[in-house]
Symmetry: C2
Subunit: 119 residues, 2 copies
């Protein structure tokens, strides 16, 4: 049973929008991801998703508003809600979501990640 240091884990990768698995509990995964640029609009039919900003900030686009999520803040996106992260600068994010969650939700394209690396 070892602790996980986020700074150390984030130093292990440089890619954007490719979540890595950093922990697992109760059928949920803790994922670490760097955002930069604009993601795709999508939703998750069966999973709520938590985004916690470890470093930096990003804009979560929702159908009727944009929420800027900054360091030390989190936002929960309930299942079914369309959303699109946009990061002008690189941001480090910790995700907490069910193991079944696909990064692009209902959309499948070249940025869909099926096999996530564990770090």
């Amino acid at each position: 049973m070892e602790k996980v240091n986020l700074k150390e884990k984030f130093s292990l990768f440089t890619t954007h929008y490719e979540p890595k698995i950093a922990g697992e509990l109760n059928g949920q995964l803790v994922k670490l991801v760097k955002f930069k640029g604009e993601f795709v609009w999508h939703h998750h039919d069966n999973e709520d998703e938590l985004f916690y900003v470890v470093k930096g900030s990003f804009d979560m686009h929702l159908e009727n508003k944009v929420v800027t999520v900054k360091e030390g803040e989190f936002i929960i996106i309930p299942r079914g809600v369309e959303h699109k992260p946009v990061a002008n600068e690189e941001v480090q994010v910790m995700l907490f979501e069910p193991a079944s969650t696909l990064n692009t939700g209902n959309i499948e394209n070249e940025i869909t990640q099926r096999e996530l690396q564990r770090i």
Copy 2:
């Protein structure tokens, strides 16, 4: 759908070992808690528990070792594992755990919290 600012939420209470609910997703709760002093040895029969340190540090006592968890680090305690948090100085912790989780696990005494405040 609003974001949650941890610093702001932690400013709302001063008590120790009394978790507050700051978010809910997929049957799991995000709880914020301040530790100071020594908690009780306990385990959770059916729940894994994640402790993420937002500010400060604490010692997680386990049966055969002590893990010091510092700011920006988390530790996952699997179900069934005896543990006891000890904080020499006040520490701010974010917990991820199933809604069913009782703070004192298999132990029930005067510090058991059954009705958690939402903040």
